[in-house]
């Protein structure tokens, strides 16, 4: 129940002038609805002394809109804090300290949910990015290619491995070329991940060719004492493809007629 209708109206009109409405994140009706929920939530909170579930829900809604609209945390919390000058009159209370404490608590809660929502978005984006950045390509009949780009951590390796192994089973491809030209840092850990992937592929009955071992990577590997002798390695992907074709006893020949075309001979 809203007692101080006058102050309440004043607060609402003040709210309508903030970036929430002027930037079009909320329309006036929505602002009014959220404002009403907020005041009602606060007034029930004043009695119980702790944030009620419905108030929390309202605050979460506000934070989510704040995040989606690209507001800063302070701007988001402003929705709640803008009530400060009016809340005493709205609730017809003289116990300012108590009300302000609760209002602060509510404001901080928007802060918290703001961060939580942000984090959720980041986690989702990371997931999207992972999926985007690990394609498994059917290069030629019986040859798969995995061009790795970016950093290789254990989570990504795991994902690449799963995707690749499933693809091998699905296509029955005996050979896979793993290209690490685009991997920013190749250290012992990355080398280990590569060896693990190779072992898993071998268990399925496939074979892995690692390409993109530049001179600098080769130097690092030797200096760090990483033993890559159990896998086939090549400097450039073209060599890897040539080797793969050789292993499958296939070759690419030039067509007799004008115009080139890939042709496989067995």
């Amino acid at each position: 129940m809203i007692l101080g209708q006058e102050s309440y109206a004043l607060w609402l009109s003040a709210l309508q002038k903030t970036s929430w409405v002027t930037r079009g994140s909320l329309n006036p009706q929505e602002t009014e609805r959220l404002g009403k929920d907020l005041v009602e939530g606060i007034s029930s909170t004043v009695i119980t002394g702790s944030l009620s579930a419905s108030l929390k829900k309202t605050l979460e809604d506000i934070s989510i809109i704040g995040v989606r609209s690209g507001f800063t945390p302070s701007e988001t919390a402003q929705f709640v804090f803008s009530m400060r000058p009016y809340i005493g009159d709205i609730l017809h209370t003289k116990d300012y300290t108590h009300v302000m404490t609760l209002l602060d608590e509510a404001g901080l809660y928007t802060f918290e949910t703001y961060l939580k929502t942000r984090e959720e978005i980041i986690v989702n984006q990371r997931q999207d990015l992972l999926e985007l950045s690990t394609p498994v390509i059917r290069l030629l009949d019986g040859i798969l290619a995995v061009p790795l780009i970016g950093t290789m951590d254990s989570r990504r390796t795991q994902q690449i491995m799963e995707k690749l192994l499933n693809m091998i089973v699905e296509t029955g491809a005996p050979l896979t070329i793993l290209d690490i030209t685009g991997v920013a840092i190749v250290d012992t850990l990355v080398a280990n991940h590569i060896l693990k992937t190779a072992a898993a592929v071998r268990l399925l009955g496939g074979n892995l060719i690692i390409t993109g071992l530049s001179p600098s990577i080769a130097q690092t590997m030797v200096h760090m004492g990483v033993d890559l002798s159990s896998v086939i390695t090549r400097a450039v992907m073209a060599d890897g493809i040539a080797l793969a074709l050789d292993m499958l006893e296939k070759e690419i020949v030039k067509k007799q007629q004008p115009g080139n075309q890939v042709k496989e001979t067995k």
């Binding site: 491995m161 091998i168 089973v169 268990l203």
Partner: protein, 117 residues
């Protein structure tokens, strides 16, 4: 329940592992496989495990040992049809399946055995 089977096809023995295989059944199977190698005079054994959801360290050891025993008897062993997740588990657990050649599926394994490669 153990529903595994051992079948002779051409010059090879096809062992299909199925269902839950406990430690005892695994050993019994090993016995049976070795006996069959002698009985049928095969040159290769294909162990097909596409129906297995789980390969633990004991199973991995049994497989590896069986392969080495078969090798001693002059035949080759192929492991065929590993599931991706099983392969990942084996690698992550650092299990060693030495002496076993792997094939994508039964068909490939039989072809390789037939070709004598």
């Amino acid at each position: 329940m153990n529903k595994s089977s051992i079948v002779k096809i051409h010059n090879a023995l096809v062992v299909t592992l199925q269902g839950e295989i406990d430690d005892r059944t695994a050993l019994e199977l090993q016995q049976e496989i070795l006996q069959s190698v002698i009985r049928y005079q095969v040159s290769g054994v294909v162990i097909e495990i596409s129906q297995l959801d789980l390969v633990d360290s004991y199973m991995a050891r049994i497989l590896s040992e069986t392969a080495r025993m078969i090798k001693l008897m002059g035949a080759e062993t192929f492991l065929a049809g590993l599931r991706p997740m099983v392969a990942v588990t084996i690698v992550e657990m650092g299990l060693n399946i030495d002496g076993v050649k792997t094939a994508l599926n039964l068909e490939v394994a039989l072809e390789v055995l037939k070709g004598g490669r």
